[in-house]
């Protein structure tokens, strides 16, 4: 069936099209209304509904012959007064909720035209409820009532419509089909201008609504299990169940269907039921009821009994009961097709079932729940919180009513604080799109206006950093009972260990653990941890380059948290604050880690990183967490005075790369910029001097400081694609880290300074600024240049000149790697570089093809940067004193 269905006459189609057009116009006009406008109209509609509650109840009873007049009137009042109480202060127009701390606002957008089907069981109350919801949310509704409740529903719509329009609602906001057919419904369900189908009723109607392909609120049948547990207040429970199951002769689909009663109280409960005007059927009567009110073919209830009084049902099926009987109780032995009365019965017939344990009772309730009641409603009477909790866990129902009547409890607002409704969403279990008590928010499209919220930044470094010649003397200020010095053989040989020892307070027991001068292996780390445990160390001094300090960081981690799984801690992450794996916070020994660096490059003495080699697996494991940062850093140049030239150059360029990459990182901040720029200035000035004159104390001191300061920058702003490339290339061809960085550096700067082919998402950056920051660096270095482009070129030229001065190979080809060999390696290099986390803070997101291009540029050397003009070259020369 479609909106162009040929089974409808042209006249009928024109009529239906007219209804939709009228509703569409009303809905369009309604978008201009304010919250105050709709609130004023809703209040007047509610008053009109309350005024007519009994009149509409009478009409419903007369037309449908279902239910109880008094209860129908009560339902009409709940549908108006209680719903109004819930919606009156709710914002449904414009901005309805704001979360300033998240920068998010929710803004209401009406749906437009709603096609609404209403049931026979609660005809007028459902119409009243939906009219109020529609006006509150500025929607227009075309009603299609159940054919056997058409007149009363039409009257309810009329009363609501007149009250609404009288107080300012747009004309045409409600219409009600009369004498409609299934074809009419199908036409409207498929109409392109209908925004939502709200189908309250039987499964066929709900299925048709969902089958239309339109957004639909389809609610439907239930089969409410009740667990009457032995700790319950039995008097209250029995009265509540009778109240609920007889309410409007059981027509509310949330009403009780099968009560599962604990064995201990079963007989007492039945006696109480009997005392309060119910008829407890014997086996024969139950059998008669089962085959007369339930269709033996389909297993569903027969319409003749729906909404009828117990006494009338008894008469219909030939049972002899007392005239005051209000409810028929039918004991059954189980749930399923062989027990016909275990299904939904929208009339005052209630099945009861005995359970020998809580477990059995819960299983029986689950059975009832799955016998046509998934997602709808369930009830428990108990004082045992554990049982209540378990019931809530195992039963699939949108409304789990505790110690209250099911039907009236599920309506909300009377026995509990649930949202008042006349439409019970049953979730996916019931084939519905919602499990809510359908309410005004189901009649709105809620838009989220999300403001940009820059992530909070940080600047974290060790809280004690001692620097300058003889800064090692500060070790005297750190009391320790047992100190273990982690170092490598060279440090012992050249006497650095003795220098450290001399500065440790004399009362301290000092032990030295010498590890190989290479990236630490798991085995080495675990041996170190054994030593720490053996000596019960309360202080660890790492004396060496990056490898030794990294080893000490991991030793401390395992010493303090023996259960730490290094493999797991190395899990990849994108954002430090949102990482899946958290580092352990408990510390068994509370030992202090003091890092004394003997090279001027990695800055490991202040960084939260450590690299471990897993030889067995043939790979490196990078650990990153601020808990790894040393507690104290000592930056004493006496330990680097004897660094050889090659190491001075390699580590110095590593430091320079840290500064440059942290400077343009998407995580850079004024705090990291301050460090990056200072380090850049120091390295540019003092690296050539330290390289040419290794004994120059000032140059050594400043380069040692530069390395530490650059590390403070990249500890917080991270590095970039240069490091990703260098890691991949260095590991593949066995090239030292600093040297590998140097080969990539000019090309990466030129790459980052160009307009990116792909921008990196960076909430903390306003626009693309990498090229400007490079220009700022050039200005700081006094390299000259008029435009940003010139300044970047001057920076590249200056770096190339520095690399020449430090006698670095200027291309990968210069290392003797053949083009063929390199070409073969490229796919792996690109893959590994892309897997490296370093580039994730790069200002420009590298594409795989771009990584390959960068590798090739580095292979050829010097080709990316434009040659500087003579004027620019002169400025560079002057700056570098060449």
């Amino acid at each position: 069936m479609t909106a162009n269905d040929s089974s409808l006459s042209e006249e009928r189609i024109a009529y239906l099209e007219g209804l939709v057009r009228q509703a569409r116009t009303a809905a369009a006009v309604f978008t201009q209304y304010t919250q105050e406008d709709v609130d004023r109209i809703v209040k007047q509609m509610v008053l009109a509904g309350l005024e007519q509650a009994q009149h509409l109840a009478r009409l419903a009873i007369d037309e449908t012959r279902l239910g109880v007049l008094e209860d129908k009137a009560l339902k009409n009042m709940v549908a108006t007064e209680f719903v109004y109480d819930y919606v009156k202060d709710k914002r449904t127009v414009g901005t309805i909720r704001e979360y300033p701390e998240r920068g998010v606002a929710e803004v209401a957008e009406p749906i437009g035209v709603i096609f609404s089907l209403t049931p026979i069981t609660n005809p007028t109350s459902t119409v009243l409820f939906k009219c109020i919801m529609a006006i509150k949310t500025r929607n227009a509704v075309i009603f299609s009532p159940h054919p056997s409740a058409g007149h009363c529903c039409y009257e309810a719509v009329r009363i609501m419509y007149e009250a609404a329009v009288k107080h300012g609602a747009p004309e045409g906001v409600f219409t009600c089909l009369q004498s409609q057919t299934l074809q009419d419904n199908a036409f409207l369900m498929h109409h392109k201008d209908v925004g939502l189908i709200d189908a309250t009723g039987g499964p066929g109607m709900v299925k048709a609504a969902y089958g239309s392909g339109k957004p639909a609120l389809g609610v439907g049948p239930g089969n409410t299990p009740v667990y009457l547990e032995k700790t319950a207040d039995l008097n209250m429970a029995v009265v509540d169940i009778i109240t609920s199951k007889t309410f409007d002769n059981g027509t509310i689909c949330a009403s009780e269907q099968t009560v599962v009663i604990d064995d201990e109280i079963y007989d007492i409960v039945l006696r109480k039921f009997a005392e309060l005007g119910t008829h407890v059927c014997n086996e024969k009567e139950t059998e008669i009821l089962g085959r007369t009110v339930i269709d033996p073919t389909t297993g569903f209830m027969l319409p003749m009994a729906v909404g009828q009084k117990a006494i009338d049902i008894a008469r219909m099926v030939g049972l002899s009961v007392a005239p005051e009987t209000k409810l028929l109780i039918a004991p059954i032995a189980g749930v399923g097709r062989e027990y016909p009365l275990s299904v939904e019965k929208l009339f005052p017939v209630l099945a009861v079932c005995r359970a020998n344990s809580v477990d059995e009772a819960l299983k029986l309730c689950v059975d009832v729940n799955h016998a046509g009641g998934l997602g709808h409603t369930a009830v428990i009477f108990s004082r045992n919180d554990e049982v209540i909790q378990k019931f809530g866990e195992v039963i699939n129902a949108g409304r789990i009513i505790v110690n209250a009547p099911g039907s009236i409890g599920a309506l909300g607002g009377i026995y509990n604080d649930m949202v008042p409704t006349f439409s019970f969403g049953c979730g996916t279990g019931g084939g519905n799109s919602t499990m809510d008590n359908v309410n005004v928010y189901n009649y709105l499209n809620i838009k989220r206006v999300a403001r940009r919220t820059p992530a909070h930044m940080w600047f974290r470094v060790p809280n004690q950093i001692y620097f300058g010649m003889n800064a090692v003397e500060n070790l005297r200020h750190f009391p320790s009972r047992s100190t273990v010095i982690i170092t490598n053989p060279a440090m012992e040989q050249i006497g650095h260990v003795d220098v450290v020892r001399r500065n440790i307070p004399p009362e301290t027991h000092v032990h030295v653990s010498v590890i190989p001068d290479a990236e630490p292996e798991v085995k080495v780390v675990m041996q170190g941890v054994e030593a720490l445990n053996f000596y019960k160390a309360d202080q660890i001094i790492a004396l060496g380059g990056g490898s030794v300090i990294d080893a000490a960081k991991i030793m401390k981690l395992k010493y303090e948290s023996p259960q730490a799984d290094l493999e797991e801690l190395a899990a990849p992450f994108l954002d430090l604050r949102k990482r899946v794996i958290q580092y352990p916070t408990e510390k068994v020994n509370r030992a202090r880690l003091i890092a004394i660096s003997t090279t001027s490059g990695t800055g490991s003495e202040v960084t939260p990183f450590a690299v471990l080699t897993d030889k067995a697996a043939g790979r490196k494991v990078t650990l990153a967490d601020y808990s790894l940062s040393p507690d104290v850093a000592i930056v004493d140049p006496q330990f680097v005075m004897s660094m050889p030239k090659g190491l001075t150059a390699d580590t110095g360029i590593d430091c320079l790369t840290h500064a440059l990459e942290a400077g343009v990182s998407i995580l850079s901040s004024p705090y990291t910029d301050a460090n990056a720029l200072q380090a850049l200035q120091l390295a540019f000035k003092y690296l050539p001097i330290a390289y040419e004159n290794p004994g120059d104390e000032e140059a050594r001191t400043m380069m040692h400081n530069a390395a530490c300061i650059a590390a403070m920058a990249f500890s917080n702003a991270a590095v970039g694609v240069n490091h990703a490339l260098a890691h991949a290339f260095g590991a593949r061809f066995g090239v030292a880290h600093g040297r590998a960085n140097a080969l990539m550096l000019p090309h990466v700067i030129a790459y980052n300074a160009a307009v990116p082919s792909k921008f990196m998402p960076s909430p903390n950056q306003k626009g693309y600024v990498a090229h400007k920051k490079y220009a700022m660096m050039a200005d700081l270095l006094g390299l000259g240049g008029e435009t940003v482009e010139e300044k970047v070129q001057n920076l590249v030229a200056a770096i190339e000149q520095l690399l020449d001065q430090l006698a670095f190979p200027r291309s990968i080809a210069d290392l003797g790697i053949s083009k063929e060999e390199f070409e073969l390696a490229i796919p792996d290099l690109v893959r590994i570089a892309f897997e490296d986390p370093s580039w994730r803070s790069n200002p420009r997101m590298p594409l795989l093809t771009e990584l390959a291009e960068l590798f090739w540029s580095a292979y050829r050397g010097r080709s990316l940067a434009k040659l500087p003009s003579k004027r620019q070259q002169k400025a560079v020369d002057e700056r570098l004193c060449v």
Binding site: R24, T25, V29, T31, Q32, G112, P170, E171, G172
Partner: protein
């Protein structure tokens, strides 16, 4: 290209329907485009919308373009939802 604009009416907030009906009547005499100034209209009701639909129909029949000037965004959205916006031209 010059566009002749021989009818230009200001629409009064309180008499939208009447003004639109008058505009409709003037279409017979129109040679070029018709411009209606909505600057003073903050909101439109269903009868106004119906009158606009009628005007659009009449203008279509006569091959005349109706230009709406100064329509606020709320009314513009109403015209969009009522599927009438494509039948008018808009000017600020």
């Amino acid at each position: 290209m010059t566009t002749m604009m021989n009818v230009c009416l200001e629409i009064d907030e309180k008499h939208v329907v009447v003004a639109l009906q008058e505009s409709c009547d003037k279409l017979d005499a129109a040679v070029g485009d018709v411009m209606l100034d909505f600057s003073a209209v903050p909101r439109i009701d269903p009868s106004g919308l119906k009158a606009m639909e009628a005007l659009a129909g009449a203008a279509d029949d006569k091959g005349i373009k109706v230009v709406l000037r100064g329509v606020n965004v709320d009314i513009y959205k109403v015209l969009k939802l009522a599927k009438l916006s494509s039948r008018f031209a808009f000017a600020n």
